[in-house]
Structures are given as structure tokens and as C-alpha cells.
């Protein structure tokens, strides 16, 4: 159960989503991907994509205008 961080701070949409899509392919099932974002529209499209793919998703607001989208790869 490895944990990976993906630094997308300062990146605008759709770059966080494209990076997360690429990164999650490298993960094994059960691994966790933590995507750090500070672009509020990524807070909508990242979880939407991950949930549609069937992964478990949690969002944490870590600071003003800064979030971590925590994705557990399920398949």
C-alpha cells in the first residue's frame, strides 16, 4: 500500500487532471495518490473523474485555497 504525492500547486486546469490520469496508471491496486492542487476547478473535475473511474476519493482543504485530493486506486 504505497503512497504517492503529485504536486500540482500553481497548475491550472486541465493540467492537474491530465497529470493525475497519467500517474494513476503507474500505481498498483490499493495504492494511494495524493494530488495537491490550488486551482478550485480542479477540485471539481479531479474527484468527478476519479469517482467515475470507480476509485475512492476524499478531499481535504489543507489551507486557504489549497486542497489535497486523496485517491485510492481500486482497480
Amino acid at each position: 500500500m504505497a503512497e504517492y504525492e503529485l504536486d500540482c500547486l500553481g497548475e491550472a486546469c486541465p493540467i492537474p487532471l491530465v497529470k493525475a490520469e497519467k500517474k494513476i496508471e503507474e500505481l498498483a491496486i490499493g495504492d494511494i495518490l495524493i494530488v495537491q492542487i490550488d486551482h478550485s476547478c480542479a477540485m471539481k473535475n479531479l474527484p468527478e473523474w476519479a469517482r467515475k473511474e470507480g476509485h475512492n476519493v476524499e478531499i481535504e482543504e489543507v489551507d486557504d485555497g489549497e486542497w489535497e485530493v486523496i485517491i485510492e486506486k481500486t482497480k
Partner: protein, 188 residues
Amino acid sequence: MGSNNRENEIIMALKDNQFYKMWFKDAWPYLTGAVLLSAFQIFTLASTGSPWGVSGVLANWGAWLYEAVGGTVDKWYYFASEGAQRTLENGFLGHPGSMRNIGIILGALFATLMASQFKIKKLKSWRQVAAAVLGGLLMGYGARIGFGCNIGALFSGIASFSVSGWVYFVFLFLGAWAGSKLLVKFFM
């Protein structure tokens, strides 16, 4: 210390308040946005006599800035018409579109402060800066040469039953498709 605790309690209670969450913290549903934008479009047309536009206003801002440092634009084809000259003469404060654009900027600031999501973002790389500047120039140039951006040409066009709005829509889609291909190729 007692009053500090009390203040914290009030702030925590406000953060969990359902109306605070609904109006300020969480993004509004697309439908709410669509209804409000339509209402603002109707209000704009009724009160100013022209449909909503954003980027044309920025061209006027550029002209005013240029005039402020001693330039003149009255020989420029874009500003040559009588209407354009009158708008420039009326000035920034007498221009409804300028007031509206300022309102959009202040409103966005207000919204992000109310949600406590204001953040000054760091620059990731000079590549990103170059791409942003290039993208801004292309968008600005395209919006002027095409007589409108996605508000003036697309939204206002379609709302006025103009075919040009739909033509814009098709090419906007093609442009976005090509742009995302280039983005993945050169920026990932």
C-alpha cells in the same frame, strides 16, 4: 483568553452554518449560474442597449492607457468609427462595460475571500509564464479580429438568435480540441 475562545466558537459555528456553505463556500450548481447569467444578459441589454461583452472593453482600456502616455488611436481602423470615438471620449467612468468588468473582478475577489480561498499562486516555471503570455495574446487578438470573445460573440450571439454565435461555438470546440492536444504534447 476567554474572549478568544468565544471568537473561535463563533467562527467555527459560522463555518458549519448550512447557509454559509450553500452561498459562499461550495460552488453553485451550473443551473443557478445559467439562470443568473441569463438574467444579467437581459438586464445588460435592457439598461445599456447593447448585449454583454467583455473583451471589447479591454481594447478600450488599452486605448485609454495608450492615450494616457501620450498616444492617439483616432487614426486606427478599429477605433475609427464615430461610435468608438464617442465611447473613448466619454471615458472610463462613463463606460458601462468598464464598470461591469470592474464589477466582475471585485465580485470574484469578494467570492474568493468569503470562501476563504484567496491565494497568491507561485509561478511554476518560465515555460508556464511564456505559455500564459502567448495564450493571452492569441486569445486577445482572436477575440478582436473575430469581433467578440465567448461572451460577446458566443453567449450574446446565441442569445440574440444570431447564426454567428453557433458558428463561433463549432470553432471554439475545434480550437479547444486542438489546444488540449497541443497541451498534452508540449506541457506534460
